[in-house]
């Protein structure tokens, strides 16, 4: 059984990637998960320098999901390379680094710094964080901004560049196309949905930042739709995510058109979910006689159904 997937120049041993911001810098989970058993580990969004993020409360649970407004707290790319990357490498993790920037130049600079480091497998361009005004979402909500930042970063790095798209736009597939045209090696989607919850007793927003990003199973049907639409629009590989809780959900994204998947919120609910998903995918492949997971990508059957009265 072949679980490996190709994301452009990058080959992953399986399609399961830990989603950015939901797995710390990976090492936090070193005791719970064998990091080398994952297809990849996408680390928390990094700017050039450290950031403290928003004050708490930073998360709140909503029906079938959660809002977060962490505000991209992070240690900055230099400390990441010095303090975390060596151990990630040692543990055999395939490391995708999620990068952020206030300006196009910052993206370029972070990408350049990472390109010189040892042990980075790919760069995920976070142009879709809904929680901070200057976190790149201005690029992610404009077709030309998306095009510009992808091509600028491509110019300075040999690493695969994977822009992460926002779902908070009319047509994510148009952004997928812009990314593909700009030379992206793959795309990731979705980031979280801009959302809000208010405590009616105090009339205050439940998050210090007023708004936050919705993740978890609640968003899955919208995310699946977006992956399906993008699969119809572009040829480059797609990393799908949004509310994957188990193997069946991961397979739903793959069938919709995702070459690989990321899992975020589910890891909070169950940090041992990784093995369960991989086992479930293998079971499914055995049951359905599928030799290579890559053969399942984008195989939604839309032929008309037979119907009875």
């Amino acid at each position: 059984m072949d679980l490996s997937v190709r994301l452009g120049p990058l080959t992953l041993k399986n399609p399961l990637i830990a989603a950015s911001g939901c797995f710390g810098y990976g090492l936090e989970y070193g005791e719970v998960v064998d990091l080398s058993s994952l297809g990849g580990v996408c680390v928390k969004g990094l700017f050039l320098s450290e950031r403290e993020g928003h004050p708490p409360p930073r998360i709140v649970e909503t029906p079938g999901g959660m809002l977060n407004a962490i505000g991209l707290q992070g240690i900055g790319v230099h400390r990441f390379i010095a303090e975390r990357l060596p151990e990630l490498r040692e543990r055999g993790a395939t490391v995708l680094v999620n990068i952020c920037g206030v300006t196009l130049d910052e993206y370029v600079e972070v990408a350049r710094v990472l390109s010189d480091a040892e042990g980075v497998a790919a760069i995920e361009l976070n142009i879709s964080c809904p929680n901070i005004k200057e976190g790149g979402i201005q690029f992610g909500c404009s077709l030309s901004g998306t095009y510009d930042v992808v091509s600028a970063v491509k110019k300075v790095t040999h690493l695969p560049v994977i822009p992460k798209l926002t779902p908070n736009v009319t047509s994510p597939s148009a952004f997928a196309r812009a990314a593909e045209d700009a030379g992206a090696d793959a795309i990731s989607l979705v980031n979280t949905f801009l959302a809000m919850a208010i405590d009616v007793e105090t009339r205050r927003p439940r998050l210090s930042n007023i708004m936050g990003g919705l993740s978890g199973p609640a968003i899955r049907p919208i995310a699946v739709r977006m992956v399906y639409e993008c699969r119809c629009e572009v040829k480059i590989p797609i990393i799908g995510m949004g509310g994957i809780m188990d193997a069946r959900d991961a397979l739903e994204f793959i069938i919709a058109g995702a070459d690989a998947v990321q899992v975020g919120t589910a890891n909070f609910v169950d940090p041992f979910v990784w093995g369960k998903i991989l086992d479930g995918i293998s079971d499914y492949m055995t049951r359905h006689g599928i030799a290579r997971i890559a053969d399942l990508v984008g195989t939604t059957d839309t032929s008309p159904a037979h119907s009875h009265a």
Partner: protein, 269 residues
């Protein structure tokens, strides 16, 4: 190394209409837990609610000395604590732990003063059990709204813990905040008595205890309570501000750098 156990409910002791103690069969977690650590609990599979909730380990349950389970002391405030209150023996509860840092446990040369507000009593049963065994002199300053909020006093008495109890409505012990007897005791402390203060309770209480400890020159550790998404350092939801070298602060994850902190390192505003 935390364990995730699909733990069988051994017993659900209802203490009042809001408080209960849920005993869970979880030998691996029980055997590894140190006083002050917590577990992430999910009584109901499925998405309602979605996330686990943090609870201090209350008791370590033993069978002839061998740890077989743990209990949590829960106050009903919302969905999960409602499910915990309603749980039935035999039911399964997902329980992940032990997590976080423990309280410092000194030797007999140091007195330990535990300061608990309401359900903040939870981590102190294991502290008291461990330290009573070492011959450490223990005092529990314990405050609640009223009589009904003061739980398990006899357990602590049996371990030889000195009790200083107060209630806001005066229905038991001294009337007023727990910081009143604490300050009195700090002021009356004999020179040369080394005291370590351990506190757990609502933020304003912790801030007041931290201030008193600093004023009277005692070391103080607090257990802070933040909304926690994961308990393992993955989500960055649970941060507290710790003092930074430059006079500012850093946000630090209380699930892995805490929940127990040296009170002097935190920014209290």
């Amino acid at each position: 190394m935390p364990f995730d156990i699909d733990a069988r409910v051994i017993e659900n002791r209802r203490l009042s209409s809001d408080y209960n103690v849920l005993s869970l069969e979880a030998p691996d977690i029980a055997g590894a837990t140190e006083p002050g650590q917590f577990v992430m609990v999910k009584p109901d599979r499925g998405i309602d609610p979605l996330l686990r909730r943090p609870f201090s380990v209350f008791e370590i349950l033993r069978d002839g000395g061998r740890p077989v389970g743990l209990s949590i002391l829960s106050k009903r405030v919302g969905v999960t604590t409602g499910q915990i209150f309603g749980a039935q023996a035999g039911q399964r509860v997902q329980c992940l732990g032990p997590l976080g840092r423990a309280f410092t446990l000194p030797g007999p040369a140091t007195e330990v003063w535990m300061v608990a507000g309401g359900v903040g009593l939870a981590p102190f049963w294991t502290v008291a059990e461990a330290l009573a065994g070492r011959g450490v002199t223990l005092t529990l300053f314990y405050g609640g709204r009223g009589d009904a909020d003061l739980l398990y006093l006899d357990y602590f008495e049996r371990l030889g813990v000195t009790l200083a109890v107060c209630t806001e409505d005066g229905s038991r012990g001294e009337r007023g905040r727990v910081t009143i007897p604490l300050e009195r005791a700090l002021a009356a402390r004999q020179a040369g008595t080394d005291v370590l203060v351990h506190a757990c309770g609502p933020d304003p209480m912790l801030a007041a205890v931290a201030r008193l400890a600093a004023r009277y020159g005692c070391r103080c550790e607090v257990s802070v309570e933040r909304v926690m998404g994961c308990g393992l350092g993955g989500c960055y939801s649970c941060v507290v501000p710790v003092k930074a070298a430059n006079g500012g602060f850093h946000h630090v994850r209380s699930c892995i750098s805490g929940p127990i902190f040296d009170a002097a390192t935190l920014v209290w505003d």
